[in-house]
Amino acid sequence: MSATREDVGGTPLPPGWAQPAHQPDAFEISTTTFEQRATETMARPFARRAIANATDHAAALTTARFVGIDHDALRDKARQIRAHAIANLPDYLDQWIDAAEAHGTIVHYAADESEARRIVAQICRDEAVTRVVKSKSMASEEVSLNSALEAIGIDIYETDLGEFVVQAMGDRPGHVIAPILHRTKDEVHALFSTMAGRELPNEAEALTAFARDRLRHAFLTADAGISGGNFLIAETGEVLLVTNEGNGRLTTALPKIHIALVGIEKIVPRRRDLAVLLPLLTGHGTGQQITTYVTMVAGPRREQEPDGPERMHVVLLDAGRSALLGGEFEEALHCIRCGACQNVCPVYRQVGGHAYGWVYGGPIGAVLTPLFRGQVEGGELAHATTLCGACDDVCPVKIPLHDLLLGLRRRRDEEGCVPRSEQLAFALWGQVWSRPLLYRASTAVARGSLRVIARDGVLSAKAPLLRRWTAGRDLVVGRRRS
């Protein structure tokens, strides 16, 4: 097998092209504070500009996409679908498992992150897998899957263009659907030129062609494809994947084994519900009408079919999800990971995804991180927001992110995790980060400017949404730094 690997088309990458994957629990969130991480991004003006441009662009496209239709009614329907699915999660999972097994899918159960790593590594050992192509999966980021596979000697190729860059740089994705939002073309150009061993043209087209060629070789030689899943369809036992590049489909088509790692909350009852959810996922995600490639997978290749894997494994991932059921934060499970709340969040737009320190950024990251990682590591994120409410207004499934964030703040205060001074500091940062001008003013260390900020803070704190944010007002008064 490996003897013929090199001459199948596409160009192999040299060994060592990728940076080692991060280890489980080596997330920045364990070792640094939000302030430190945010400061890092803010110190790269280009990254900030790139993030703001890209998020503006996405938000404008989303708005344009839904002109002339009853967008709000559509979001209500989406919310109903998600709320119903989550309220009946065990029943729908049961139904999904029966249907999936009926068409030959092998289903595995991962109660937590380490079990997910063990299961996928074991599948790879059992199936004699030594090379893997991956299509983008946030669940695999959550469980640090790559490190577990590298540990048993598997070559991994992230095939989403952005994730490929992330892997080669040893970076982390900066946005849930646009992983290299924070990177510039020049950075990609320098990286790919080094990988190619020659100066490539500094144009997006040539850089993409380089990645296509190298990854084509990986697709044609990989033993297994690993994907996430955007939805699980209970009535049919299908896993749905969306990608614009086509790498998701190829991941399920070319290698002899397909493994999908999917969070249990991805369940939806019926195919017909996709007629509501897909246009919202795409419209809010990228502003497209529909993602270029939508693929519904129901098990391995069947007789008479020309291509496809011999076996399909699905690993259902709990890892903190079921603990949210029936509680104050259950609605966080309604999220369809469109990324829209990041795009409109004034804090995210200034500090970027890495500041959130774990896998998810923006308002949904500030909610999920403390819920999944615990208060000690993630709790401070509940303060990394201005509570402006823009995320509530944009969320396609109407998750009350603002209320969830307030709830998390309250919980953190009740648990006594947070010194008052930290709250105060966050409140000021929230104000400052959300406004580039104020940020600049603050770095100019102009005492007068800071007073302006303070006044601004007080004024905006009178807005109804911010009234509950009393810490903000205290801060403004109490922190006239002199």
Binding site: Q80, H84, T208, F219, L274, Y293, R301, G308
Partner: protein
Amino acid sequence: MTDRASFLAAIRSTPRGSDPGLLDRSVAPDAPTQLRDGEHRADRLQAEAESVSTVVHRVVATEVGATVVGVLVAAGAQRIALTEDLAPFADAVREAATTAGLSVVGYAEAASKRAQAGALDATVTGCLAAVAATGSIVTAASGAGRAGALIAPNHVCVVRDDQIVDGLHELFDGDVLAEAGSIFALQSGPSRSADIEKVLILGVHGPGNAHVVIVAPD
């Protein structure tokens, strides 16, 4: 190892959140994927497909072979594969392609070795359905295979007028998908990425050149 019973039991042991009920079947999802009253399906398919950079050709049945091969020759394709679902037009396409000096194989044969499939310049497929409101073509594992529509840099899909459905809910609700096999798949235009500074690039992993040939009813 967690098994099915203990995995589900852990989830069942949690309190139940409030349930707004299943979305009523009678509620038409007024997604942006509806046709306007009286709108012509093939026209809408063409408009939507073109809006995502698909090149659309409107032909009558007897023109399919020449149209498809015209596209392939213009793209400089040499090695082409035809998928099973092209059936009613396969002979015409094969004949025209052979006449034009192209090398033609069945996709199942090409796909039996990944390297062979990876070396194709173009694939020509039929489809299971096409979705007017989103400009999508729908392929099935049992017809075009999983990778038939996106393994090569050029893809031509032949759509019969009677295969076009209005929108997504008609597609998902109908029985058109019953025969799909292990996957069904929508594709709407060429493969794309805007990962590098939001510059739209076509042809990342799938085709950069996608054509739809809509065949008018007799």
